[in-house]
């Protein structure tokens, strides 16, 4: 197929070929946990990716190693991008080893994000598990900027142990806000932890929201999202108003190659954020 028929990846016209990465320089590296880092990237020239919406992702290219889809965990109008990466494979391992001054390729942003505007006027329950918080972070800051436009906001953050909690100091800051309720829970902990211990689903019954006018954003490993969505449905939140961020192996990121096909959807193009009602039955299948 001719290159000219490739869909527009929502990048500025000067980005050139839709699959060509734009060089960004690593400005800062923050270690979140032993295997998770947060990279702050700035464009190396005037060429930059387009504006992103909360929940979208970029393809990050570790030169000479390969590309990986990484959610956008922050950014600024001057083109700065923030990505939180866990070392899981060859590419992500290379990305977590980047140091300030290194160059990385970026193309994007891609996909459908969180329906932040659609949720206005409603209560919000935001549930993050493991590395689920970074993709939700831009949505949270957009909600904070328009806090009066939403009803009650409940944030539930879960991790395996306290040392696996990412953006911990930031979350502690949110806990001091009077217009949010933040619950943090871990699966197990030592004696230096005075917070909650228990699976993330155990915090749902205690969450304060009106189920009929609630929108839920859930992000984390698939099994965590499935169990959380079930707990929300048990609290009478309609499956149509629960949104999950699905993850699949992405290659082209523009709905072309089929690597991320999820039954009739391409996660890169139709997701990554999908309604629970659309994937509910698929989540129970061993393989899709």
């Amino acid at each position: 197929m001719a290159v000219s028929t490739l869909p527009d990846p929502a990048s500025p016209a000067d980005a050139g070929h839709p699959l060509a990465p734009i060089p960004y320089v690593v400005r800062a590296v923050a270690t979140e946990t032993p295997d998770i880092v947060t990279l702050t990237l700035v464009p190396r020239s005037t060429k930059r990716t387009g504006p992103f919406r909360p929940g979208q992702f970029n393809m990050l290219y570790a030169f000479g190693v390969g590309e990986s889809a990484i959610s956008i965990s922050g950014g600024s109008p001057d083109g700065q991008l923030i990505h939180t990466v866990q070392s899981l494979g060859k590419v992500s391992n290379a990305l977590t080893r980047l140091t300030p001054g290194d160059t990385v390729g970026v193309r994007g942003p891609y996909g459908r994000g969180w329906p932040v505007a659609e949720a206005k006027g409603r209560d919000l329950v935001i549930v993050a598990g493991g590395l689920g918080l970074p993709p939700l972070r831009p949505a949270l800051y957009e909600i904070f900027r328009n806090r009066e436009a939403y009803g009650r906001v409940e944030i539930i953050d879960g991790a395996r142990t306290p040392k696996n909690l990412v953006f911990y100091d930031e979350v502690q800051g949110w806990r001091r806000r009077s217009d949010l309720r933040v619950q943090v829970t871990v699966d197990s902990a030592g004696r230096d932890w005075y917070g909650d211990v228990g699976v993330v689903t155990t915090r749902i019954p205690d969450a304060r929201f009106d189920p009929e006018r609630t929108t839920a954003f859930v992000c984390g490993p698939e099994i965590m999202m499935k169990l959380t969505a079930q707990a929300l449905v048990a609290r009478k939140v309609p499956a149509e108003t629960i949104f999950l961020s699905m993850e699949r192996n992405m290659k082209c990121a523009i709905g072309f190659c089929g690597h991320c096909q999820y039954q009739s959807s391409f996660i890169c193009r139709d997701g990554p954020v999908l309604r629970y009602s659309a994937v509910q039955t698929l989540l129970n299948l061993k393989e899709v």
Binding site: L88, S188, G190, V197, T201
Partner: protein, 156 residues
């Protein structure tokens, strides 16, 4: 009302979610020897292996349920807060605590005598049935939560 009963304890039991709607006579019967106990952060409320003769109702605060292993520091596997119960070893022979219970902050509990509850449940099967109908879902929920923890839902 039984004059030996601590009226404040009866009120606390009756208003605890677990006992909502249970007969006043049952509540007064199990309240005999019952008392309110106050703990501060890091106080040990019960120790693994110790005699388990108490059912605790959490009124305020938060406690950690800890597992001990000889070769490692204690691990908290669950925290329990207001409106919940702590301890079922008083019901299950050999009546020894299966975990440590440690206060994580200032915590107010009602302690009920496990022996009295056991004898009451035996003597009045109608109360015993009602109690177990309420108790079993808590055990099932904790078992379910333990299974989810075993799934390591935040794993790779």
């Amino acid at each position: 009302m039984n004059p030996e009963v601590n009226h404040k304890v009866v009120r606390e039991i009756a208003s605890h979610p677990f006992f909502h709607g249970m007969s006043r006579e049952f509540v007064e019967t199990i309240a005999v020897e019952g008392e309110e106990r106050l703990f501060v952060a890091d106080d040990m409320i019960a120790s693994e292996g110790g005699e388990a003769d108490v059912l605790y109702l959490v009124l305020e605060g938060k406690v950690a349920l800890e597992l001990e292993a000889a070769d490692r520091p204690p691990i908290t596997v669950q925290t329990v807060g207001p409106g919940e119960l702590v301890g079922w070893s008083w019901l299950v022979p050999p009546h020894r605590w299966r975990f440590n219970v440690r206060a994580l902050k200032r915590t107010r509990l009602v302690a009920l005598d496990g022996g009295i509850i056991r004898r009451t449940l035996h003597a009045r099967p109608d109360w015993g049935f009602e109690f177990m109908v309420r108790f079993m879902p808590l055990l099932a929920e904790r078992l379910e939560n333990t299974r989810i923890q075993l799934l390591d839902i935040y794993g790779r």
